[in-house]
């Protein structure tokens, strides 16, 4: 039963828009799926104690590179997104390789990657002649807004299926990582880098692999976000707030569980929408007040969700 359950759930999700296609719930589902992919990408490395606050930067690079290539060179996102992922991976390599090489770990790593988020934000704002600065950036509409070539669709169902596919791929990558040697190597590294190195784990290389995977996935999801929203601004796709938002949602949902970040995305986005619809513009900011308090409470009262002991991890994986 447990073997076919994911396939049944997947089939049900694919079938959903053909049964029920109200635009607003569809929009919410698409947004949840895109952010779920993003949070899952973060958790791919976050679950091994590699707490990166640079993912806001990766998302921003992914989104802006794709949009800039499309507007300035007419490069279709089908090629633009791979290019963007490559750029993200190169940036991740430039930051992460020296970090791992020089053993910058724990909160030092978090602070260095935080600097990356801040840099990406500042570069986007500073090069306002190209990126539009704080005012944001819009990919040009092509062929009335619906085109496979431009990866632009006005139809919500199409977007839902795309987002579902991307989300599925993100989950699949995380699933594969969880069942690979990489995972055991990284768990050993998370416990004790020196001991792991002594048993023959190539610490720098293994950490680099997971970082590149996670960063490229985040860049991809960022590009997708841009294609769906058709508008990006520095504050919504890069910077520290976005990075913290990823950490927050993943932590609330649970980073050791495959569907944890997805649950986190559901909780955070639905809460924000509920407040927005229920209380109108008067509720601006309340969602973050609640997130902030929840994040603090979760970390204080459920610390094993974040950085647990080996036993807690294994117990969790077995029951999950």
């Amino acid at each position: 039963m447990s073997r076919i359950l994911p396939w049944l759930a997947g089939a049900a999700l694919i079938a959903l828009p053909f049964v029920y296609r109200e635009p607003y719930p569809m929009h919410l589902l698409i947004v949840v799926l895109i952010w779920s992919s993003m949070y899952t990408s973060w958790s791919v490395m976050g679950r091994f104690g590699l707490v990166s606050l640079g993912h806001g930067g990766f998302m921003g690079i992914g989104a802006y590179t794709t949009a800039l290539l499309w507007n300035n060179f007419g490069l279709t996102p089908w090629l633009g997104i791979p290019v963007a992922m490559l750029v993200v991976a190169i940036v991740a390599l430039i930051i992460a390789w020296p970090c791992f090489r020089f053993r910058i770990i724990g909160h030092y790593f978090a602070l260095v990657t935080l600097a990356l988020s801040a840099i990406v934000l500042q570069v986007i704002i500073a090069s306002r002649d190209i990126t539009g600065g704080s005012l944001g950036y819009t990919p040009q509409r092509y062929n009335g807004g619906s085109s496979i070539f431009a990866l632009q669709f006005t139809d919500k169902v199409t977007w839902y299926l795309i987002a579902l596919g991307v989300w599925g791929v993100a989950l699949f990558i995380r699933y594969r990582v969880d069942r690979s040697m990489l995972r055991y190597a990284l768990e050993a590294i998370a416990e004790d880098e020196d001991a792991a190195a002594a048993t023959g784990v190539h610490v720098t290389w293994e950490k680099l692999k997971i970082t590149l995977i996670s960063a490229a996935m985040t860049g991809f999801a960022g590009a997708l976000y841009c294609q769906y929203q058709m508008f990006i601004s520095p504050d919504t796709v890069s910077g520290i707030s976005v990075s913290l938002q990823m950490v927050f949602a993943a932590v609330v949902g649970g980073i050791y569980v495959l569907l944890g970040p997805t649950v986190g995305a559901f909780i955070t986005i639905l809460l924000a929408e509920f407040l927005r619809v229920g209380f109108g513009t008067g509720a601006v900011g309340w969602d973050n007040v609640i997130y902030g308090s929840l994040l603090v409470l979760f970390i204080i009262f459920l610390p094993q969700r974040l950085v647990g002991t080996v036993q807690a991890k294994f117990a969790r994986v077995r029951t999950a």
Binding site: L116, I299, P303
Partner: protein
């Protein structure tokens, strides 16, 4: 005597020094907290933001005299620092450092959005225009000069406190060895609370100075926060002298590149320099080679 180019450069250099003084004050508070409690307050700049709002409301709305308002603000943010320690940090003292960092990240979200909810997103300022000093055709803002002076004074007072008083000695001792000092009869909890109060008060002092130069809005913390963390890490977390040096290096980079390009590029260069230095000297600017 000077040609025009040199004057602008000199002006940028002087403004860099003045900016460095304020950054050094910010870094000092964070470094003190880190050195003693071994915790990074990611929400440090948000405390400053609240202090700036405090100044705005006291001075502008309730017309409290500036100096009185400043004292109330410094004390108030000090109390906030203690509250932050007791409510958030104390329950997490035994946890991995990254947990505390993320918990204060939650506080950052909380304070930022609470300020949005309470005060709205309008930019507010005290409406004080301090005169601009003109020396040799260079324009130096009086507000910056005042901030620089007050920041230096604050640092000297802190230095005297840490080196001359009994409590200060205990704080330094705890910073050196967290395990042994409680065995020597130092009440670590009391020291932590005092340190948090001082760290908060330094944020309060910074707030009273920054409110003279910047408009306050709920996201102002994001302007100072990242810069402050990078300075602290650049100087070596917990290393107060390193943080002091790093502040001026950072401020000069921001100020001088801001002269040739945009101010934002100044930040970009400074942040880039930070990342480059992390790889060259991961333990901080003044670290000895291990």
């Amino acid at each position: 005597m000077f040609d025009i180019f040199d004057i602008y450069l000199l002006e940028a250099l002087i403004n860099g020094v003045l900016l460095g003084g304020v950054l050094a004050l910010l870094a000092l508070g964070l470094n003190l907290i880190f050195g003693v409690i071994d915790v990074v307050w990611i929400c440090y700049a948000e405390l400053i933001m609240l202090g700036m709002y405090g100044m705005f409301f006291l001075f502008k709305i309730y017309s409290v005299p500036f100096l009185v308002a400043a004292v109330i603000c410094i004390a108030g943010v000090g109390v906030l620092g203690v509250a932050l320690h007791v409510l958030v940090i104390a329950p997490l003292l035994g946890a991995a450092p990254i947990n505390q960092l993320l918990a204060t990240g939650g506080v950052l979200f909380f304070l930022q959005s609470a300020a949005t909810v309470m005060f709205g997103i309008d930019f507010r300022n005290l409406g004080i225009r301090l005169p601009v000093l003109e020396v040799h055709d260079m324009f130096i803002s009086y507000a910056r000069l005042l901030a620089f002076g007050a920041a230096l004074a604050g640092m000297v007072v802190l230095y005297l406190f840490l080196s001359r008083t009994y409590t200060g000695t205990a704080i330094r001792a705890i910073a050196q060895d967290r395990q042994i000092m409680p065995l020597m009869g130092v009440d670590a909890r009391r020291i932590y609370i005092i340190t948090s109060a001082i760290g908060g008060a330094l944020a309060g002092l910074a707030a009273t100075l920054l409110v003279l130069q910047y408009d306050v809005h709920p996201f102002i913390g994001l302007t100072f926060g990242p810069t402050t963390f990078m300075i602290c890490v650049l100087g070596g977390l917990g290393n107060m002298v390193g943080g002091f040096v790093a502040s001026f290096v950072f401020a000069e980079i921001i100020s001088v590149s801001g002269l040739y390009l945009d101010l934002e590029w100044g930040y970009v260069f400074a942040f880039g320099f930070f990342i480059a230095m992390m790889f060259a000297k991961p333990q901080g600017l003044l670290a000895r080679r291990a």
